[in-house]
């Protein structure tokens, strides 16, 4: 399960950001028990495999989740979510770029 010396792959980078997106959405939308079914629905809607997301998949999911938050929680929470997701997607772009330049 744990492999500290494992080389980081692009897939690892995508999964790490995906993990953070899901956690943040749950935090802003009433916790895991309530928010996780909503997340699952979006993955089904866009036919995204959560174990192998592409960068484009994550952009689609983020956009859809923000729309859900707008409807559920209103502008203020959606704005905060948009800010956090933007940071995460920027981190994703940076990390992928850094990874590609190393390999």
């Amino acid at each position: 399960m744990e492999n500290e010396s494992k080389q980081v792959t692009e897939k690892d980078i995508l999964l790490e950001i995906e993990d953070e997106i899901i956690v943040k959405f749950c935090e802003l939308n009433g916790g895991m028990e309530f928010a996780m079914p909503i997340i699952r629905k979006q993955y089904e809607k866009f036919n995204v495999d959560f174990k192998r997301p592409t960068k484009e998949d994550l952009y689609k999911i983020v956009k859809a989740l923000i729309e859900v938050t707008e409807n559920l929680k209103g502008d203020l929470v959606a704005r905060e979510e948009r800010r956090v997701f933007k940071e995460l997607l920027n981190k994703l772009e940076r990390d992928i770029k850094a990874h590609q330049s190393q390999s």
Partner: protein, 183 residues
């Protein structure tokens, strides 16, 4: 006769992916089994009521059973799911030795977040006898190190599934009652 004592607790099922966590819950909660494997995205929560008798008290226990994805690379989701758990089932797969070796790491991770909660160790897929990669004495050794009971379960046929959930429910209730008595 007194009113039953209502208790609600959260328990988590943890272990590597594809060990049968979702199937064990489906067997316990709905008494069904499906061979088709679908990885759990994040977490899924099921509820089940259990009646117990403890220290002359009738306990009506509602288990909030959290199925937590075992996939690598989702430490944030797993950590969030472990918060507030009062007990955990550590699940491994009798046909894959590494799933038993990883049990200690799962136990450590959940302890870090939920504290020193009761565990039970489940070695699932006991129906696949010809494919066993470890045996009862290996399980004894792991369960003794973790100070837990162990069960060899089959989500497919239901063997020991009720017993394992009952055992964890019992351990969790005992802890809770002890806490109440001591406060």
């Amino acid at each position: 006769m007194g009113e039953p004592f209502n208790v609600k607790v959260k328990i988590c099922l943890v272990g590597d992916s594809a060990v049968g966590k979702t199937s064990l819950i489906r067997r316990y909660v709905m008494d069904i089994f499906d061979d088709k494997y679908i990885s759990t995205l994040g977490t899924k929560v099921s509820k089940k009521r259990l009646k117990l008798k403890k220290k002359d008290l009738d306990i009506d226990l509602t288990l909030s059973i959290w199925d937590v994805l075992g996939q690598e690379g989702f430490k944030g989701i797993q950590g969030m799911a472990f918060k507030g758990a009062r007990g955990a089932m550590l699940v491994c797969d009798l046909t894959r030795e590494e799933t038993l070796k990883n049990i200690t790491s799962w136990a450590d991770r959940i302890k870090k977040i939920a504290g020193d909660i009761p565990f039970v160790l489940l070695a699932n897929k006991s129906d696949l006898t010809s494919q066993y990669k470890f045996n009862e004495s290996d399980l004894e050794s792991y369960s003794s190190n973790l100070n837990t009971s162990f069960f060899m379960t089959s989500a497919k046929f239901g063997d020991n599934v009720l017993k394992a959930f009952y055992k964890l429910g019992d351990l969790v209730t005992t802890e809770l009652l002890n806490e109440i008595m001591n406060n």
